[in-house]
Amino acid sequence: MFELVVLDSALRMATPLIFAALGGIFSERSGVINIALEGILLTGAFASVVVTYYTGDPWAGAFAGVFAGMLISLIHAIVSIVFRADQIVSGVAINLLAMGATQFLTWIIWGSSANSPPVQGMAHWGLPESWGAIARGVNAVIGHYPPLVYIALASVVVAQVVLFRTPFGLRLRATGEHPEAVDTLGVSVVRMRFSGVLLSGALAGLGGAFLALNTHQFVKNMSAGRGYIALAAMIFGKWNPIGALGACLLFGYAEAVQMGLQGRDVPTQFVQMIPYVLTMVALVGVIGRARPPAAIGKPY
């Protein structure tokens, strides 16, 4: 159960969740519910594949994922912040839009609405093997996972610092708790919320890019509910990056164990339910009392 391969797998499974959950944190800390994470992941995945396909450069693809994530979250921002429409409604609509638009565009570009051709993935980081033992040592540390895995972990640390140690983070948290107070101090609530939502788009978009580049392909609806799981992880982690990281690793682990358990006479269906049941149990047992940002979901 604690085999290295399972832990490896857990970390990789957790990576898109980590990006998306961090994104969710920035959005919700600013007071905007982001159920659109699912659609943003999908959009990021799609964009990264398109750009990688045309440029042959997966890093350009990842960048495109970030950009596309921000673009679609901009819709969420405009609809829910400028027009002050219901945030959940807006999120649901964006998920639908992302699903339709990515399939539609996949069809336009590649003639099938289900699959893209394979694209280049990201090369693992590392020093040339010819450098000898030192290179091998270094590579064992930083070359074991795809680069975005490390970036995800680093993002957690950065997010934690940004949220709790910088003026921006302080303002963001205050905006989600008490937007009037922020407004009276001359800080623009609209700007803070736009920042939060766009950051969430950037991060979740990168998560989508990882998803697609790690499989070297875009497949319709490939987010497959991960946005929702990320949402759960965010709540599970009480809207804290470190906490969310823990939750994502737990979910990733549950999924990896689930995959590893197969063929041992437990029906696949039941094993696959583990993360979902776990989430529900955790919500009841641990998180029931967690307090979301006070002004969340309320247009200002």
Binding site: V5, S113, A114, G263, T268, Q272
Partner: protein
Amino acid sequence: NTGDDATEVDAFRVGMVFDVGGKGDKSFNDSAYRGLLRAADDFEVEHTEFEPGQDADRETGLRKLAQAGYDVIIGVGFLFSEAMRNVAVDYPDVNFACVDFDVRPGETLPPNLAGLRFREEEGSFLVGVLAAMYSKTGRLGFVGGMDIPLIHKFEAGYVAGARYVDPGISTTVAYAGTTPQAFADPARGKELALLQFGRGVDVIYHASGSTGNGVIEAAKEVGKTAIGVDSNQNYMAPGNVLTSMVKKVDNAVYMTVQAALEGTFEGGLREFGLEDEGIGYAVDQYNEDLITDEMLAKVEEAKAAIVAGEIVVPKR
């Protein structure tokens, strides 16, 4: 290649309806599509394809094609069985064919409906033989798409083939899921494969549509081998794809169109297996270095035995 007007019916027209996973899966659906394209080229027929969104659309879509005067309508995948059955009786002048037709015990098909079935277990047996001989660790892997009897056939044949070579060989089995999405989830395929490789497996056979793209990707990444399915997937990672279990859906489709065109279309069940080359394994420039003569000899021996009925390959 469209015809939105039912009255202009000069050309011979073929409609194709795809299964989950869709066009571009490099596997099952693409194999069927290749057959259609080849037929379209050779016989200058018009064609259209679509991927139904919801269950009820399968039947409705088939009816629309039939009403619009299509001459041959081909459903790719067993999920079309029921709809085909219902529609065929209403349009006796249209020829229907369904790949992997899910026949009911004792059922007779109408004369305008052909059920195209494949003995995948036979081909799976052969790639099992190759896998067992190629494996250095003595541990094989299998990644299935949706956990359903159709895919269990692949698993059973593969395991039997491997045991034919080495009765003590172990096979790790995993399925990507229980929804049709399981045939279209390369991310999951990759993780399942990496897990198996990580546990000492060195050859994985996948029967999982585009999910298998992830399996092949994983093989490439860790330098192990995968076995492709349905289409010849050897080219996808030369050196890391041991072989492919080809299910010649393309040929079946091609022949169906040809027969309809020539007026020799026959309804009823049609089973393709090793003996008629409807099923096989692929050796080409991408994998010839991996397959030794000894392996070739052994697999041909097994093939002959199956065709001769000396080996009966289990289906589950």
